[in-house]
């Protein structure tokens, strides 16, 4: 834990872009030096509602991409779904607004030291951090394939520039309005076999992460997933965001997904116990 959040900083930053992309808002923040410490998988916690807000908690968003070369200096991109009052507020902020962020937070995706075959699976806005991850993997010589899924086409986030680092991209929607009809798990096993996948990185709804874990449980493939639990603090002090995770000795611990996650080993998460208390089920 000593290394987690070591470089987290609280800072007032400026919104320098806010663009609708399908069902989401692509929000660009001028964050300066912070970008140096952001790794794919890390997230940012944002104060919402302004000074007279009745919302007392920060909102967590995956860092979709950071850049240090643009006209603005260090910038951070977020892909935000207008869900409840806080995310809607964020999506309504025009360029120039100052917002209070804490970043980077949480664990990052592990990057293999050798060049391997990686499969990146994103659900909804869960694809956001995967394009940055793809860049890193490609620069390490990995082959990167990507599967994206969502209920409807407007919830697929797949920016043109993002596709550069990806060898192949396959899209699934449940209503068939974009790509193939169905879910990302549809032909997952074949894809893993055909493309000789060594490692899977996934990010999306908990149900998707659980389904992937289940499917690959018998295979010799690593699965790192970025989980999403309701968070009050994002920095490890409230214990609201816990998930049941297996220990070496077979026992289960309730780990904080904000500092022991969001990136976790899929097979270690006790998906069957999410929302339950381990004792009663051991």
């Amino acid at each position: 834990m000593a290394t987690i959040n070591r470089s987290a900083q609280q800072q007032i930053v400026t919104v320098v872009g806010n663009k609708r992309v399908g069902a989401y808002h692509q929000i660009l923040l001028h964050v300066g030096e912070i970008v140096k410490n952001c790794r794919p998988g890390n997230f940012v916690a944002i104060s919402v509602g302004g000074e007279s807000s009745k919302m007392v908690l920060r909102r967590a968003f995956a860092i979709s991409r950071v850049s240090d070369s643009s006209q603005y200096g260090g910038t951070m991109e977020l892909i935000v779904a207008p869900h409840g009052s806080g995310s809607k507020w964020l999506c309504a902020q025009p360029e120039g607004t100052e917002i209070d962020i804490v970043a980077p937070l949480g664990t990052a995706f592990g990057i293999p030291t050798e060049s391997v075959n990686a499969l990146l699976i994103g659900g909804g806005y869960g694809s956001a951090p995967l394009f940055g991850l793809a860049d890193v993997l490609k620069s390490r010589g990995c082959k990167v394939d990507m599967l994206l899924g969502a209920s409807i086409g407007s919830k697929i986030y797949a920016p043109l520039e993002g596709k550069r680092s990806v060898n192949s991209l396959k899209i699934y929607t449940e209503d068939g309005s974009m790509g193939e009809t169905g879910r990302v798990t549809e032909s997952l096993l074949e894809i893993i076999e055909n493309r000789e996948i060594d490692i899977i990185y996934s990010c999306g709804p908990m149900g998707m992460l659980a389904a992937i874990t289940e499917l690959v449980s018998d295979l010799d493939v690593i699965h790192q997933c970025a989980v999403e639990e309701s968070m009050a603090c994002g920095i490890g002090i409230c214990m609201t965001c816990v998930l049941p995770v297996s220990n070496e000795d077979g026992s289960t611990s309730m780990l904080r997904s904000c500092i022991d996650g969001p990136v976790m080993e899929g097979e270690k998460v006790r998906w069957d116990l999410v929302g339950k208390i381990p004792e009663a089920h051991q």
Partner: protein
Amino acid sequence: MTLPVDLSTTLGNAWFPTPIFTASGCASSGRELAQFFPLNDIGAVVTKSVMNKPRHGRPTPRMAETPSGMLNSIGLQGPGIDAFLAKDVPWLLEQKARVIVSIAGETVEEYSTLARKLRSVSGISAVEVNISCPNVENRGMVFACDPDASRRVIDGVRKTIGGDLPIIAKLSPDVTDLPAIARGVVEAGADALALINTVLGMVINIDSMRPHLGGKTGGLSGPAIRPVAVRAIYQVHAALPKVPILGMGGVSSGRDALELILAGASGVSVGTASFGNPTALIKIQNELRDLLAARGFTTMQQAVGFAHRDV
């Protein structure tokens, strides 16, 4: 930095350089906040209530945001007192933080056991006894809601721990007669009182149409409950003017801390505000210093209970 105002305070025989503390359960064991400021800069770290055995706590979801507040139902997840004393306390003392250990139990006996284990630990400033826990020996009725059970808990802790370590009894506002409960625990040996624990609340998810929290009910905290905290502190300070109070409940600015101090608090714990702002404690401490100075106070102690003065 020069201190225009002497912020120091005491609770029983424990001395603290400033009255701004973390609130139990809102700073974990301290490590996570140390990333944002030196723990030595604030008055004290009040640790998460620890029980005798390790504990998983309640199922998720464990929180719901509410207007100007939040509900939590963590259920006292923790490593148990032995692991806590072996790992967390030494680390905090290494940081030169003042440490107040919060303990919680399900039986009067468990509190005494915890006290016995604490007795031999040196370097701790005080023990906070969180009695807002269900009493398994009395149909799960919360100790703090039962004058007799609260007394017995504090009596057990006092007898076990001996005379040195200050005991701070933390009370629940969910009672008909708070001053009566306060009087009882003071008679039983509490040196100070912590006011207030969270207010019992509930949120129903209008989509699932069931209670939102895994534990159904939860504790309401944050600015929403500040008027309840101020009233509780004022009432108890009026009834027991000599008993120091560690106030808490919705403090998120120096203004709020001053409000609790004027009502009668000698120290102020900050809980929920740290979730929204990891450096809230430092901000509050600085604002408080300025507000006290602007009002001509040279020591924080002069302001304690000042709202009770005669015309």
